[in-house]
Subunit: 576 residues, 2 copies
C-alpha cells in the first residue's frame, strides 16, 4: 500500500513508485532528510532545477495515537544553503498517510511561467494550471479550495511571500478550522515558489485507516501514552492553558528573554505580552484558550485569540513570535502582535525570521523601536506587495544586517536566532550553533532542562553539561520528528522512561517490529549525521557551527553573561 | 626610516612601530595580506571591532621606476567574508612611501558616533572629527581637501556608499588631476565606513626620495624596463590609444562577451560601446585618449572622456564597467554609461559589482533591460540616498539574486563575475573559481594568453592547460601586486624574460639584495597560500572554489560552450 509519489514539474509528469527497501523504516524527518541527501546535489542552487521538495508523514501519522499528525517537508534551504526539515500539524499529514503515500517528491522546474496546483487523491495526482489563487492570501485561498474541493480536503499552500520566492517564506498547511499552521524556517516557501506550485490539495475520499500489526498492543500503548501526555504539568496543563506564551514570564525571570535586538535579557514589556495576559484576554473576549492544530492532539497548545470586539485575530499564536515583536522589537501591545501574526500567516511569512528581522531593521533605523503600527504597515504594504523595502526585509535577518551594515545580527547559518538568549541559557546556544538546520530552538530544546526542570536540571549559566544535553536532545528530537509526533511529547518522555516505552510500543505495534530504545537513539543519530554530512558536502565547516561574534563581545544583563564556548569545545558536539 | 603607522579608532591613538623583521621583505599585497592574516581573526565580523584596514605601498613605490605607484589595501572583505587585497593608482602611494611609511594599520571601532578624518604627515598622524565632508560626493570632497591642505596632498576618501557601509562600496583615491581611482571589489569601503573614517589625507611636505642601494644599476634596469613597456603592442600601443575598452570588440569576436546577464556571448551593442567608438568620441570632443593614473605611468590606459559639448564626463573609463552596463545590461549609449561611471566614482561604488548587479536586477524585473536613464536615476536617487531600493541593490549582485529569487546570479564567493564568460574563456573561469579574492579577472588574467596571444596561447574553449595557466598567472600577479607595479606590466613580462629580469633588477638595486626569478615565484606562492589559508580559517572550503551552477546548465552562444571543469579538477589548482 505504501508508495512514493513523484511529481516532476519540468515535464509535468506524475509517477507512483515502490518504496525502496532502504527507506521503508523511515518516516517524517528521517525520510525527508534521507531522500534529500540521496537525490539533491548538495551544491545545487536551492531555487534551481536540481533542488527537490519532499513531503513525508511520520511513522505513526494516520493512526489514532495522540499527537501523531505531523507532516515533514525537506529540501535544500535557500536561506541557509544547508539541508532543512520542517514539520507542522494541520490536517494534510493524516490524509496523505491514509492514502498510502509514504513520501511526495516534487522535482524540476516548469519550462513555462505558469502557476500550477497539484491535486492528490486516492488514484494519484494531477497537475493543473492555476490562475484564480495567484497573489491571494492564504486564508482566502484556503476558503476557495474548500469550496472547490471540500472542507475535509487537506491543503498545503504557498502564500504571496512564497510566490515572490522570499527567503522568509513558509509553506503553510490548513488546520481543522481552515486556519493555518506553518512549515516554518529555512525559507522553503521559496523552493515551492521556484517550482511555481501554489498549492497541493489532498482529497480524503477513499482514505483508509492505517493497518496496525498488533491492534491490542497498539491500543494499550496508545492509552498509556495519552495518559502520560495529559498528566505532565507542561504538556497536560501549562501549554493547554497559556500556550507556548507561558514562556515570556519564565524567560524574563531567568534573564534569558532577548530584548531590544539582543542587547539585554529582560523586557519591561513582559507583563503586557505574557501568556497570563493572553489567557485573560482570551477568556474576556470569548476566544478559545485551547485548540489542537491537528485531529488527535491532546496537548492543545494552540488557541483562538480574538480582538477586543470578540472578532478572530489569530491562532497558533506562539511565544517565539510574541517574544520577537514584543520584547526584541519592543512592541508593547499584544493585539498589534496578534494582527502582525495573522498577516504573516496570511502572507506565508516565517514569523520568527520576519520578527527577529524587525529588531535588526530597527537597529538599522528603518523603523522606530516598538512601532507596531509600522510593522503592520510594512508587512501588508511593503513585504506583502514586494516593494523594494519589502524585498530587502523579506530576504531575512542576515540580509538586512548585510544591506544596512549592522553587526549585531542574531543568525546562525543565516537563520534568525529565536527567543532564548544563548549567553544566559547556554545549552540552547549549543543547539543553535550545531544543528544542521540553522539557528533553531526546536532542534534540541534545552530550555526544558536548563529552565523548566524537565529531564533533570543543567544550570543555564554554566558551560558544564550543555554539550551533552544538546546532543542528547538533538538526537531524541530527530527521532521524534520521524514519528510524526509533536515535539511537545518530549516533556513527559524526558521525565518518565515509561512514556518513551509507550511511544516505542506504539511504533512496534503499528509495524509488527521490535525496536528498542537504542534503536530509537540510533535512528536519531543517523538522521543528524545524514543532515550534517549533506551540509559538509554543501561546503559547510565547523566555522558554520558558531554563534555570531557579538555574543562573545557583549555581556548580557542581568547576569552579565557572555558566550564563552570555544570552537574546539563546540566541535565535540559531533563526537558520537 | 621605514615604519608601521598604527591607528586605533577605539581609543583614537596613533603609534609608530618598527617594521617587524618578518615583514621587511614584503610590500603591497604581500604585506597587507601578511598583516591581515597575522592580526585579523578570520571568523570576525568584517564590520566589527576586530577587522583591520591595512594600506601598503609596493616594494618599488616611491621610486622613479615606471608604473610603480600603486597602493594596496587589505582587510577581511564584508562582501566575500574572505581576505581581500585591492590596489589602485593615484598619488597617495608614492607620498606614503616617501614619508617612510611601509604600512598603515587602522584598527578598532570608535566608541562614539562621530565621523573623523586622518591627517598624515612627516611627523606622524592625527585624527580629527569631520563634519563638513560627511555625505559629500568624492569629487567635491577632494576639492575641499585640496583647499584645506594642498593640491599636492594625497587623498584616500570614502564616498557616500561607503559611509552607508554598502557592500558595493570602494575606497577611492585621488589621481594627479584630482579625479578618482578606486580600490575596487570586496566592499572595503564598508570597512572604512564601519570605522567612521571619511578620509585619509597625506601631506607630502618633507617627503624624501627613496633610498636606492645601487643607483647605477637601478637607473639602467629602469630604462630597460620602461623600454619593454613602451615597445609591447598591448602596454605600449593598444592600451594607450583605446584604453581597456579595446577589449569589447575582441571579446565580442571571441564569443566571450557576457550579454543580457550572461545568457549569450555576443552583444549587438558591441560597436556602439567599443574602444574604437570611445576613441573617436574622445578625439571629436577634445578629451584625452591617454592619461596616467599616477605619476610615472608610461602605459596611460586611462583617458578623459567628454560629453558631446566637450564637458568632462569621466576618466578611468574601463572595459569592465562598459561591458557590464553596455553588453550585460544592454545599454547602447556609451555617454549614458560614462555618466553612470562618473556617478559611481562620485558615490564610491564599485563599478563592476554595481554594474553586474544591474543585469540581475533587470532579470528580476526591477528595471527594464537597457534602460540607462533609469540606471542613472537609481544610482543617484536610490543607491546614493540609501533608499530601500538603494539598500537592496547596494548590497551587491548576490544579495539582489537572493532578495528576488533569481538563479542566474554571476558571483563567486558572493562577488560579481567580470567581463569574460568562463564558458568560452575557460582559463579565466579557473581564476574566478580559485582566487581567494572572489571572482576577479585581475587575480590571474588568462585573457592575455587565452585571447590576446600574450605569453603563448592556450585555446580558450578547451580545458587543456587552463589550470596551469591560471595558477602561473595568479602566482605572478600576487608577486607583481607586491611590487607596487601596475598589472599591465605583465604583458611585456609574459612575452620577454628580459623584461622580468629588468623588474627583478629594479627590486635588487633598490634594496641591495639578490632576488632570483625563483624568489619572485616563491613570493607569489607565499602570498596566495597565506590568503588561501585565511579563507580556510574563515570557513571556506573547496566548495567555495566553484562557479555558479547555471554555468554548468546553460550553454553559451555562439560556441555552445559550457563550464565543464569538475570539482576535483579545479581543486588541483592548489597543488603547489
Amino acid at each position: 500500500m505504501h508508495k512514493i509519489l513523484r511529481i516532476n514539474m519540468s515535464d509535468l509528469s506524475v509517477k507512483t513508485e515502490e518504496v525502496p527497501v532502504a527507506w521503508a523504516g523511515y518516516g517524517g524527518r528521517a525520510l525527508t532528510s534521507t531522500i534529500v541527501a540521496a537525490e539533491v546535489p548538495p551544491t545545487c542552487h536551492p531555487l534551481g532545477p536540481n533542488n527537490k521538495l519532499v513531503f513525508a508523514p511520520g511513522l505513526l501519522t494516520g493512526t489514532v495515537a495522540s499527537n501523531s499528525g505531523r507532516l515533514s517537508v525537506g529540501s535544500k534551504s535557500p536561506l541557509t544553503g544547508g539541508i532543512k526539515e520542517s514539520n507542522a500539524g494541520g490536517t494534510s499529514a493524516q490524509i496523505i498517510a491514509k492514502l498510502g503515500i509514504k513520501a511526495l517528491i516534487i522535482e524540476g522546474l516548469p519550462a513555462d511561467d505558469k502557476w500550477r496546483g497539484i491535486y492528490i487523491d486516492k488514484d494519484g495526482a494531477r497537475i493543473e494550471e492555476e490562475t484564480e489563487l495567484i497573489g491571494m492570501g492564504n486564508f482566502a485561498a484556503v476558503q476557495v479550495l474548500n469550496n472547490r474541493i471540500s472542507k475535509s480536503a487537506g491543503v498545503i499552500i504557498l502564500g504571496p511571500a512564497g510566490e515572490m520566492k522570499m527567503l522568509t517564506s513558509n509553506i503553510s498547511v490548513k488546520d481543522p478550522d481552515s486556519h493555518l499552521r506553518s512549515h516554518g524556517r529555512g525559507g522553503l516557501g521559496a523552493v515551492m515558489g521556484s517550482k511555481k506550485i501554489k498549492f497541493i490539495a489532498i482529497d480524503p475520499t477513499g482514505a483508509q485507516p492505517m493497518k496496525i500489526a498488533d491492534p491490542v498492543k497498539f491500543k494499550a500503548a496508545g492509552m498509556a501514552f495519552t495518559k502520560f501526555l495529559l498528566n505532565h504539568p507542561v504538556s497536560g496543563q501549562g501549554l493547554k492553558t497559556y500556550g507556548t506564551d507561558i514562556l515570556v514570564n519564565v524567560l524574563n525571570e531567568a534573564g534569558g528573554l532577548p530584548t531590544h535586538n539582543f542587547t539585554t535579557g529582560q523586557s519591561l514589556n513582559a507583563e503586557s505580552i505574557s501568556g497570563e495576559t493572553m489567557y485573560a484576554n482570551i477568556i474576556k473576549r470569548e476566544g478559545k484558550p485551547s485548540h489542537g492544530c491537528h485531529p488527535g492532539c491532546v496537548i492543545q497548545c494552540s488557541q483562538v485569540y480574538n480582538d477586543a470586539e470578540g472578532k478572530y485575530l489569530t491562532s497558533g499564536f506562539e511565544y517565539e513570535t510574541i517574544w520577537a515583536l514584543g520584547a526584541n522589537a519592543d512592541v508593547k501591545d499584544l493585539d498589534q502582535i496578534a494582527k502582525a501574526d495573522y498577516i504573516m500567516d496570511d502572507l506565508g511569512l516565517d514569523s520568527i525570521e520576519t520578527s527577529v528581522m524587525f529588531g535588526v531593521a530597527m537597529e538599522a533605523g528603518v523603523l522606530h523601536w516598538g512601532d507596531g503600527t509600522e510593522i503592520i504597515r510594512i508587512l501588508k504594504d511593503e513585504i506583502g506587495k514586494g516593494t523594494p523595502l519589502g524585498r530587502v526585509l523579506g530576504a531575512g535577518t542576515g540580509a538586512v544586517g548585510r544591506a544596512y551594515g549592522v553587526t549585531r545580527v542574531p543568525v546562525v547559518k543565516n537563520q534568525a536566532i529565536p527567543a532564548y538568549d544563548p549567553r544566559s541559557v547556554k545549552g540552547i546556544g549549543i543547539t543553535y550553533a550545531t544543528t544542521p538546520m540553522g539557528a533553531d530552538h526546536t532542534a534540541g530544546y534545552t530550555i526544558a532542562t536548563n529552565i523548566l526542570g524537565v529531564g533533570g536540571h543543567v544550570d543555564p549559566l554554566k558551560k558544564e553539561g550543555q554539550i551533552d544535553l544538546s546532543r542528547n536532545l538533538q538526537i531524541a528530537t530527530a527521532a521524534v520528528d520521524s514519528t510524526g509526533m509533536c515535539l511537545f511529547i518530549a516533556f513527559p518522555v524526558l521525565d518518565d522512561a515509561a512514556c518513551l516505552q509507550a511511544l516505542i510500543d506504539l511504533i512496534n505495534a503499528r509495524y509488527g517490529i521490535a525496536l528498542t530504545g537504542d534503536d530509537v537513539v540510533g535512528l536519531g543519530k543517523y538522521v543528524l549525521k545524514t543532515e550534517h554530512q549533506f551540509n559538509l558536502d554543501a561546503g559547510f565547516t565547523n566555522k558554520d557551527d558558531r554563534l555570531p561574534e557579538f555574543f562573545t563581545l557583549e555581556r548580557l544583563a542581568p547576569h552579565n553573561a557572555i558566550w564563552d564556548f570555544t570552537g574546539p569545545e563546540i566541535d565535540t558536539f559531533w563526537n558520537f
